[in-house]
Amino acid sequence: MKQVHSNYMELRFPSRSENESFARVAVASFVSQLDPTMEELTDIKTVVSEAVTNAVIHGYEEKEDGIITIRTEIVGSRVSIEIRDEGVGIRDIDQARQPLFTSKPELERSGMGFTIMENFMDEVEIISEPGRGTTVRLVKNLKTPHQTMAN
């Protein structure tokens, strides 16, 4: 039997908004080992953007010296992405997940970040503690080339 392909990468960078685009491309280029569809890759880039933006704006409240860590793992066609900050944390996670909920309406946030993550990924887990920081765990099972063809 063919062995399952597995690999990982870990990335750390300071909480500056100009790193969002870099983070998105870094994760995408790592995942492109699996030759996903364009649609799958776009979904992944979008959720990484949302999570990194949340860490910058909410987690570190735009302080630029916070550290954001992203760990991406692939096992077979399963992609797991963990985005971590050591910022202010989330008091009420259920409320934060509600569509349209935002704690920063003054910044014209849409409150749709977590909803987008839930829509584009197969699993979304939020682990957070006020004063300690937030970890978002996202999982997507890519369709293998074979499954795609069968659709």
Binding site: S21, V25, A28, S32, D35, T37, E39, T42, I116, N119
Partner: protein, 77 residues
């Protein structure tokens, strides 16, 4: 959300390896055009601005012209 999703998904089932290769070819053409126009080699931002994507995306797309993007490509094609 359905609408955002549909909008973002207009590339459908196209494999990344192929789609990025096309983008990489366009980058090469834009680079050549800009070089003539400016009389010097363009910067990555200038090319990115011309194509309406971020400089980071330019770097990513360019890589597609170098190697097979994945382990699958060789296996399935």
């Amino acid at each position: 959300i359905g609408e955002i999703q549909r909008f973002l998904r207009d590339d459908g089932m196209v494999k990344v390896s192929r789609s990025l290769k096309e983008l990489a070819n366009r980058i090469r053409k834009v680079k050549d055009d800009l070089t003539k126009e400016l009389g010097r080699v363009p910067t990555v931002s200038e090319i990115a601005a011309e194509m309406g994507v971020s400089p980071e995306e330019i770097v990513f797309a360019q890589e597609a012209n170098r190697t097979p993007a994945s382990i699958h490509e060789t296996v399935y094609e």
